[in-house]
Symmetry: C2
């Protein structure tokens, strides 16, 4: 919990002492490796702050293959935000890539939390602006870069992450086959 | 200005009477068709609320071709949000597709506005959550759909928009050549 409080005070003007009561609104949950946080097709009424660990967001392609579209590491929020916002059915699943500790905030509890502490909108404003800004850059990169350049760009920007995530998930995220990814890796090592 | 006030009251719990002073923080600017709102390479210190008209967000590919990655119509906010947040250099340009009236908020004025009326964070929290949620769905669709299905999906979801935007911009956005787009259109009419 302290980790989230630190994160909020770092990214907003809210004083730490105002944040003491927020623990009551969250549920701390530990997910084993490969355990789901959210399942496609189920009602999505929670968002997750990753305190420790790593999760991936994916959907099931028509051919039954899981397509990873995003990851979340420590200090990132994740959910199917369209479904979360509308209280609708999730179009994505989220699963722990490694043992993950998450602070879980339900939509109902969030409403109460924001009513009690409206200053938190400032923090969420910045978090979503940042996430949206990153997605603008990501969309630019998917137009602009070849698959190989996309891999190089990713390696440069997130070296620690590359070590943590299984190759088949990284390949899925980058839109590669695992074989193609292994080819590129060999090339860039040599 | 009334349009923005209506939009804020529709998407937050802020009372309209609290919003009267906000006009002072904005600049109303009219852009002629094809006039730029923001240029790649320049410092980005403004965000734009489209009151009337339509703009597109694009960048210059290495081969000199303009790649459109997004549009904004009435009641949408647009900017290069990474650059806006960091006060950095824009990696995108924004240009009016048709005569456009925009409410312009500079980063400096936004800071003053939010200090005077912190309740506005609630509105921006929701706006960015919505924009980020839409970009999650968009990323899913670019993985999932063929180019032709992407076009059909777009036509179904934004029919009015399809009528307003020049074909070559739509083709660029969808990652088509104009020739390919014209082929698909013929096919879907017949």
């Amino acid at each position: 919990m302290q980790q989230l409080i630190d994160h909020i005070t770092r990214h907003s003007s809210i004083k730490p002492e105002k944040l003491e009561p927020i623990a009551d609104f969250f549920e701390v949950r530990t997910f084993k490796k490969k355990e789901p946080l959210l399942l496609e097709g189920q009602r999505c009424h929670e968002k997750f702050f990753v305190a420790k660990g790593c999760v991936h967001l994916y959907y099931l392609r028509r051919n039954g293959v899981e397509q990873t579209i995003d990851f979340a590491l420590e200090n990132w929020w994740t959910s199917d935000f369209m479904a979360f916002q509308q209280g609708g059915v999730a179009q994505f699943s989220i699963r722990a890539v490694e043992t993950t500790e998450a602070l879980v905030l339900s939509a109902a509890r969030q409403q109460e939390l924001l009513a009690a502490l409206p200053e938190l909108h400032e923090y969420f404003h910045l978090m979503f602006q940042r996430a949206y800004a990153a997605s603008q850059m990501r969309i630019r990169k998917t137009y602009e870069l070849s698959k190989e350049d996309l891999y190089q760009d990713f390696s440069r920007n997130y070296p620690a992450f590359m070590q943590r995530v299984p190759q088949y998930l990284l390949a899925s995220f980058l839109g590669f086959t695992p074989e193609y990814l292994s080819e590129i890796r060999k090339k860039s090592v040599s």
